[in-house]
Symmetry: C2
Subunit: 132 residues, 2 copies
DNA sequence: CTTATAAATGTTATATTATTACATACTGTT
DNA sequence: AACAGTATGTAATAATATAACATTTATAAG
């Protein structure tokens, strides 16, 4: 069950924008889009993004410096994320595969490290781009 | 067998620096360190980094915007990378685990995407930091 | 209701990371 | 020698992210 987070004003504005977007959004593109709603400075955007990432409502696509709404209802926190990224059209989707997440969450090696979080990004060509 | 790449002057200077470093290095820290060798501009650094990444001599740690020498002799190209990152001391090491790499290289799902590359970053506490 | 505390906001300035554009030089091949 | 591909030099600028400080709002005790 997803914990209900009462988003603040700025958080809600920014989450709604990202959630409605068809793909990942970059911070300054977000900023541009919310200026009419009174959010004027980069820091206001980054603060909201940080919080939204922290509570798992959005994820950062590290290789793209972009943010996407969580597409996985069972993803309470951003501790185990996997994405597929098309290198041609830049379409991104969150992978929801219980075998994969189980495998990675249980992964351990001889290094003595205790893993508490992972992020995986797969790259390739999506169906559409493959057939071009 | 690793293909022998004849690194150019700038590529060699920058690879040697990263290879000798104890941890991942950031681009502008690299720049600072090689200025005495005549590399003056960011672009000279980024061009060498791009090439070194392309041929698999170094990898980019996406979540840190930093670069580390390949620690895995069998890693010919940067198409299948996995790292463990300590969130306390920021120590990074490349994971070389054939089961993991086999599992991820063979991963496919119903999305119709053809995956040709992946990057995985595990986060946690290293042995030292755990016991503090 | 008052006080205390944490969380969020507003604002300005600045730091950090990365690329565009253009000119020149080097390297290997025919 | 001519060509193609790769690498370099340089200046300017774009894109991404954080520091510092003042103020306001929300939440919870007492
Ligand atoms: Zn998610
Ligand atoms: Zn595509
Ligand atoms: Zn490697
Ligand atoms: Zn550590």
């Amino acid at each position: 069950m997803q914990k209900e987070h009462n988003l603040s004003k700025n958080q809600k504005i920014i989450f709604d924008l990202i959630d409605k977007s068809r793909g990942p959004m970059k911070a300054y593109s977000i900023l541009f889009n919310v200026q009419k709603k009174g959010i004027k400075a980069p820091l206001q955007v980054y603060r909201a993004l940080d919080k939204l990432v922290e509570i798992g409502k959005i994820h950062k696509i590290e290789s793209r410096n972009a943010f996407i709404a969580c597409q996985n209802s069972s993803c309470q926190v951003s501790k185990a994320t996997a994405f597929s990224i098309c290198e041609s059209c830049e379409n991104v989707s969150e992978i929801s595969n219980s075998k994969l997440s189980k495998y990675l969450s249980n992964f351990s090696d001889s290094s003595g490290m205790k893993y508490s979080k992972y992020n995986l990004e797969f790259f390739g060509l999506c169906k559409k781009c493959k057939s071009k």
